[in-house]
């Protein structure tokens, strides 16, 4: 910590009080990003305090990284500088919830788990279905732009987020959108905040539409020898009248991860034997999908799906969650949702590559993952959302230069393959000290994004350097 930052920290304490300031050297490493430890962490209780902190930081030129439960601080590039962690876990109130309106307003530090309980009491839920569910906050989930299996049926936060309040980098508290389900008054300034990794503004309130929780659900696991077969079933479902809630394609390696120690730590509901069992000799692919509806609808879905699976060359067809025991659904969906956290705990040097491609090209993206990993002798696992997003985990058994070189080479090939498909390749999670890796890939429009950044954060103090193009 430099001297000016140290003096700034002491004045910061005067600003928001000792209770809101964390400068205990024992606690600060918990806020570190890629070896960078901030001089202090500030934990405000209100939006006004957030604005005060940002105004102060603007004057003092202190770099701020907003955070919630700190489960995803490793995403993105390491910040160019990092003076203060702005811990938003104290902004954790549900500010408005009228179940009959199917809308909710809440502060960003509300955890996914507590929100699920609040909404669940009224038979409702928010379909974020995001990873790190046991600890993550709603704000962190939205701002980091992570997705989940429910994306197939409900879209992403962008599709059900109605408005936000936030403080811009110059310390001005503003709002955008509202809390009604249709609204075209003014620019949707909150949309660019989704997935912005804290580089545009600090979110202080979020409004969502909520959804009735599905009454009955049923899941299906269909095995294929090849990625082409699994993708063929995905395409056949897309052409059918079926409207799945979730639809993913998993590699055999993902089954191994789901049966490992990390998986049972993260998702305590046990997998019933035979379901997603360790791959053993099986090196194929599994399509996992689920549907909601009454018994007549579910029976129809099963009938149609079996037919489509047969004509796509499937080898086995398993049904799960048909009985009254909801823990089976939780065991499977929990694992699918937590693929990334499970992978991160399953190797000392896990690197997660996110590839996206038009859905009709999904099989090519899957083949690229397989070949890139195998060409460089890397254990791997992957899960692909049917809408065209693939998470590939490279899992070197040890962490050393040799392993990291192989990881870099494999990611390079994936990036080239997916670029040829017109898709994108980013590396949301990788071990620290990863200068060889192209975290954000090649992205156009950096100039336009920089214009937006300059308007929102004129002093460039918010998470500088974490985002695309060094923003």
């Amino acid at each position: 910590m430099n001297a000016s930052a140290a003096s700034a920290v002491s004045r910061l304490e005067g600003l928001i009080g000792a209770a809101g300031l964390i400068n205990d050297p024992a606690q600060l490493p918990g806020y570190a990003i890629a070896g960078l430890t901030p001089a202090a962490a500030v934990r405000p209780d209100t939006a006004e305090e957030v604005a005060e902190v940002l105004r102060f930081a603007g004057v003092e030129n202190l770099a701020i990284v907003p955070c919630g439960a700190r489960t995803k601080l490793g995403m993105g590039s390491p910040p160019h500088r990092y003076d203060i962690a702005l811990d938003l876990s104290g902004l954790n109130r549900v500010t408005a919830y009228d179940p009959a309106d199917l809308t909710v307003g809440l502060e960003p530090g509300v955890t996914l788990a507590s929100l699920a309980r609040t909404l669940g009491q009224h038979g409702q839920f928010l379909p974020l279905g995001a990873p790190f569910t046991s600890r993550a906050t709603v704000g962190g989930t939205v701002v980091s732009g992570v997705d989940g299996p429910l994306r197939q049926g409900y879209g992403t936060a962008r599709d059900f987020l109605l408005g936000m309040e936030f403080v811009t980098g110059d310390g001005v508290a503003v709002k955008s959108g509202g809390r009604v389900v249709k609204n075209v008054a003014g620019f949707d300034l909150h949309k660019p905040l989704i997935g912005s990794l804290g580089t545009l503004a600090v979110v202080t309130e979020i409004n969502f539409r909520t959804f009735p929780a599905p009454q009955a659900m049923r899941g299906f696991l269909v095995r294929f020898a090849t990625a082409d077969g699994a993708a063929a079933l995905r395409h056949a479902i897309a052409r059918s009248f079926l409207r799945p809630l979730t639809l993913e394609i998993l590699s055999a390696g993902a089954c191994d991860l789901f049966n490992g120690a990390a998986a049972s730590r993260i998702e305590p509901n046990a997998l019933p034997s035979g379901l997603l069992s360790p791959s053993g000799a099986f090196a194929g692919w599994i399509l996992a999908t689920s549907f909601a509806g009454d018994e007549a609808v579910l029976a129809r879905c099963e009938r149609d799906l079996r037919q489509l699976a047969d004509s796509s060359g499937s080898t086995t067809f398993d049904v799960f969650g048909a009985g009254p025991d909801r823990s089976v659904l939780a065991a499977v969906f929990g694992r699918l949702r937590e693929f990334v956290p499970i992978a991160l705990e399953s190797s000392p040097a896990t690197t997660v590559v996110k590839l996206s491609a038009s859905p009709a090209h999904l099989e090519h993206a899957l083949c690229s993952v397989k070949h890139s990993a195998e060409e460089h002798s890397l254990p791997w696992a992957c899960i692909a959302r049917g809408i065209g997003v693939v998470y590939a985990a490279l899992l070197p058994p040890e962490r050393n230069d040799h392993a990291l070189h192989r990881v870099a080479a494999a990611t390079k090939r994936m990036a080239a393959d997916v670029a040829a498909l017109g898709g994108h390749c980013v590396i949301p999670w990788c071990p620290a000290g990863r200068s060889e890796l192209s975290i954000w890939g090649s992205s156009g429009n950096v100039g336009l994004m920089q214009k937006l950044k300059t308007v929102f954060d004129p002093h460039a103090i918010l998470s500088p350097g974490r985002f695309v193009g060094g923003i």
Partner: protein, 474 residues
């Protein structure tokens, strides 16, 4: 009119691609709103290159530039509030590609909404946003306004259906925002540009999602003798987690206006009807239809009709979609509002609208998207009577103020345009408007693109237009 500018525009679009005579300009002075804006030149580009060249002319002559699709907008978005050039996209109306495997279509901005759906219906697909003007309005206009429609209740508004867009920026730069593949890295510029009402760029091409048509759609008409019963039925549908594909309410006044014009089979003696679509797999639509019928009956619907076939269904919807036209037969001039309220506030809001009508001496009709709380109160007025027009605006403002006071918004799908910029301070404070202004200026630095829209002018320097003159209302 500057002959030098005219010469340049004719060089770009050809002699038959530019209008400038007063009698020709007249047609482009208005849109679907009671607003007016007088352009100096109308150009009809046929390709993106011509649009880039038009922007260059506007740029070096400092001439305002406004994009226009079919001119069906209800907030004056496509009007030349500060004069200048109106770029009409009606000749850029080709469907460039339909990608069946990826369920998407690449189109020019002038493609008519319903034409796109008609072009892909044989593939079992459609473009889901369905504004009531869909037989005329264009995809470019839909994107500029982030248009909705009855079925956005289940399928989302335009922004949920746009993958990628090509824009000409005010600088003349051609950019692509969004992406065919999901999750392009970086800020969601597509989310910002959709609904920016032509103030950030001129759209020249877009790829939109196509949605699979459901296996079954059931259309129900629930007939009520009391408006309160209808609104309470809507509240219970929401509370019971029944999510129709569309849930429209029409009051008795509107029903009579529509029936006289469309002969849709609406009951003219009812106080209100709910027009409800449920869709999905046959089994799901069947069950939902039964549940909807049950709720409506429990709330004293005197009859719940289910359309027996496509012809009957289309007729019921034809009535709803032509509602504004039907009102136009009774009163050539009417003011239509677009407020949104939290759905639980529906009964209170309808009572308030009735009171406001009495206060100002109007019978206000109500036709609206009940399922998502988006109201379209219609205030018929005599355009020859300037005082009456002003009373209609005052009544309408009072309705909007009420919507905002119960947690709603000033516009759900029609846009702010030049009709509601003066109402924006009801929703946003000066800091918020200032941020919007700075975002606009970052992309549109000298106010070349659609000046005088969305964000009210701050301080001096911009001229505000007064209420529309009588002649604009037809």
């Amino acid at each position: 009119m500057d002959p030098a500018i005219l010469r340049e525009l004719r060089k770009i679009c050809g002699a038959d691609g530019v209008l400038f005579k007063p009698q020709d300009l007249l047609l482009y002075e208005y849109d679907g709103s009671p607003e007016i804006g007088q352009p100096e030149y109308i150009v009809f580009p046929q390709n993106t290159g011509q649009v880039v060249a038009i922007v260059a002319v506007a740029n070096h002559t400092k001439t305002p530039l406004v994009g226009r699709g079919a001119g069906t907008g209800l907030s004056g978005g496509a009007l030349a509030r500060r004069g200048g050039i109106v770029t009409v996209f009606s000749r850029m109306n080709r469907i460039l590609e339909v990608d069946v495997e990826n369920q998407r279509a690449t189109v020019q901005p002038g493609v008519v909404n319903a034409d796109l759906s008609a072009a892909v219906v044989h593939l079992g697909l459609h473009f889901a946003p369905d504004p009531s003007s869909q037989n005329a309005c264009t995809i470019g206009g839909n994107i500029s306004e982030n248009s909705g429609g009855p079925h956005t209740l289940a399928y989302g508004v335009t922004v949920n259906h746009v993958l990628s867009m090509q824009f000409v920026l005010a600088t003349g730069e051609l950019v692509r925002v969004g992406s065919l593949a999901p999750d392009p890295p970086g800020y969601d510029l597509a989310g910002l540009f959709v609904g920016s009402e032509g103030t950030l760029g001129l759209l020249t091409e877009t790829t939109v999602k196509l949605t699979r048509l459901p296996e079954e759609t059931k259309t129900l008409l629930a007939i009520f003798d009391r408006v309160e019963d209808a609104t309470e039925a809507v509240a219970e549908l929401t509370a019971r987690a029944i999510t129709p594909a569309a849930c429209e309410m029409l009051d008795g006044w509107s029903l009579r206006a529509i029936e006289a014009y469309v002969h849709a089979g609406y009951p003219i003696d009812a106080a209100a009807v709910l027009l409800i679509d449920v869709d999905g797999l046959c089994e799901a639509a069947e069950a939902q239809a039964a549940a909807v019928g049950e709720v409506c009956s429990a709330h004293n619907a005197r009859e719940v009709r289910v359309a027996h076939d496509t012809r009957e269904r289309d007729l019921l919807w034809k009535g709803r979609k032509n509602a504004f036209a039907a009102v136009g037969r009774i009163s050539p001039s009417y003011y239509v509002q677009d407020g949104v309220i939290p759905r639980t506030k529906l009964p209170a809001t309808l009572r308030r609208i009735e009171e406001i009508g009495k206060k100002y001496g109007f019978e206000i009709g109500n036709i609206f998207h009940a399922g998502d709380g988006n109201l379209h109160p219609l205030i018929p007025f005599n355009a020859r009577d300037k005082g009456e027009y002003q009373r209609a605006v005052a009544a309408s403002d009072e309705i909007i103020e009420f919507c905002v006071s119960v947690g709603g918004t000033i516009t759900g799908e029609h846009g702010v345009g030049m009709e509601k910029d003066r109402l924006m301070p009801l929703m946003f404070n000066e800091a918020e408007l200032g941020l919007m202004r700075r975002v606009r200026d970052a992309f549109n630095p000298v106010g070349l693109l659609n000046p005088g829209k969305i964000i009210p002018a701050s301080g001096c320097g911009e001229i505000r237009s007064g209420p529309a003159p009588e002649a604009t209302v037809t």
